[in-house]
């Protein structure tokens, strides 16, 4: 199977070293620019296939439901905070609507690419939400596109808030559709069905963005509790998203 036999003995890389060097330089450029050339090329190729207007109506309904949940959460939060201190200013949030033009929601790479880039004002670290709640954070931008690391990615680690028991936890992506919630307290009274939102203590996310619901709990560890979280926003079906330009 591994005997050496090839059709050609053409060693072009020995004859044309400069070609190899030029290709290598080009690839280093691609690597350093984080593939922005390819992403922009993909933007133009995929443009005719972007989802149409009719999907916007379906998305709008889901967004309304999401806003209702968020509104209730904000009211509660507002009351609680007003009891403690008087709020001087609220977070300044600006929205940008975008279409998902590439989606990698399986395998190792959990990312989506959006059709809005640095020319539209998208910046690294912006929050991306879809119908249901949080999807992820912008990790990289090119002129026309922005790449979003999903909360399911193994690279994603976010501070979250369990509303019922008023406790902070860490949401860690595992590379599948259900990220894991880690509570560093064995006594935390977490239950299946508990609602998870972004933590008021988080420095990465604005507070009270809906994230998911506890699906199952693992209590086998001695020092901490872990729970499987079912996300409210489903990245594998969402075509329209909102990019939040937040100053936390």
């Amino acid at each position: 199977m591994f005997g050496i036999r090839r059709i050609s003995t053409n060693r072009w890389y020995e004859k044309k070293n400069w070609i190899v060097f030029a290709i290598f330089l080009f690839l280093v450029f691609v690597r350093i620019s984080k593939g922005s050339f390819y992403k922009d090329l993909y933007y133009f190729i995929s443009k005719p296939f972007w989802p149409g207007q009719f999907q916007k109506e379906i998305v709008r309904e889901s967004v309304n439901q999401e806003y209702l949940i968020k509104l209730n959460l904000l009211k509660k939060d507002n009351l609680r905070l007003r009891q403690i201190l008087s709020l001087q200013e609220s977070a300044n949030i600006e929205n940008i609507s975008a279409v998902v033009i590439s989606r990698k929601t399986g395998s190792w790479w959990r990312q989506i690419i959006l059709n809005k880039g640095s020319k539209d004002g998208v910046e690294i670290g912006n929050i991306v939400i879809g119908p249901g709640g949080l999807l992820g954070r912008v990790k990289d931008t090119s002129l026309f596109t922005s790449s979003v690391t999903l909360v399911t990615s193994p690279e994603s680690k976010l501070g979250v808030w369990v509303d019922r028991i008023q406790i902070n936890g860490l949401l860690v992506g595992l590379g599948d559709d259900y990220p894991s919630l880690i509570l560093y307290s064995k006594d935390a009274d977490i239950k299946v069905g508990d609602f998870i939102s972004s933590s008021p203590a988080s420095t990465l996310l604005p507070s009270n963005i809906p994230i998911g619901i506890v699906q199952s709990i693992d209590e086998t560890l001695k020092s901490k509790k872990t729970a499987k979280i079912s996300l409210l926003a489903k990245p594998h079906v969402i075509d329209w998203v909102q990019i939040l330009k937040v100053n936390i």
Partner: protein, 172 residues
């Protein structure tokens, strides 16, 4: 123009790998996982041009695909370099039918290798954290990818091999 395309077919098809990698067509997936696209191109290229060519283009593919994924801490380069080198040492089989199915096995093995190397990087990076949580989804990812890559390889690899041979013949 046509002459250029028929001559440089392998390079033209190389450019399309990142596009397919980004496209990520769901209807071809299994459990949300896609076949490992670069191997479909790397196998015929390495079989025709030998180990060193395979190794070099494994590196090139790795560089491009790494730049398209957001995981800065992990790389696909080692797996693709190793596959490129290994594929270059594989002989053609005289029986066309057996040859076709052999592509499936070889690509499955390559996909397993690349997947495992990538998984080991994730495991090493998260060693201090709760790495056990990542085991099951990772095994699922590797197995689904191995299955899909092996399933589609006979079709894609034999077509690409035919195209590369055809363009080489035109060159001579």
């Amino acid at each position: 123009m046509n002459k250029f395309f028929s001559k440089k077919l392998s390079i033209v098809s190389f450019i399309f790998i990142p596009i397919i990698f980004l496209w990520h067509p769901n209807w071809i997936g299994f459990l949300g996982v896609q076949p490992y696209w670069p191997l479909f191109w790397l196998l015929p290229w390495s079989m025709i041009n030998g180990s060193i060519n395979g190794l070099i283009f494994g590196l090139f593919l790795g560089l491009i695909l790494d730049s398209l994924t957001l995981d800065d801490s992990f790389t696909q380069i080692p797996g693709l370099i190793f596959c490129g080198f290994l594929f270059g040492r594989i002989k053609f089989h005289s029986d066309i039918l057996v040859g076709h199915f052999r592509y499936g096995l070889i690509c499955s093995f390559g996909s397993f290798l690349c997947g495992s190397l990538y998984f080991l990087q994730i495991l090493f990076r998260n060693f201090t954290d709760s790495n056990f949580l990542i085991l099951i989804p990772s095994f699922k990812n590797i197995l689904a990818e191995v299955f899909l890559t092996g399933f589609f390889a006979p079709f894609f690899c034999s077509q690409l091999l035919r195209m590369f041979k055809f363009s080489r013949r035109k060159l001579q």
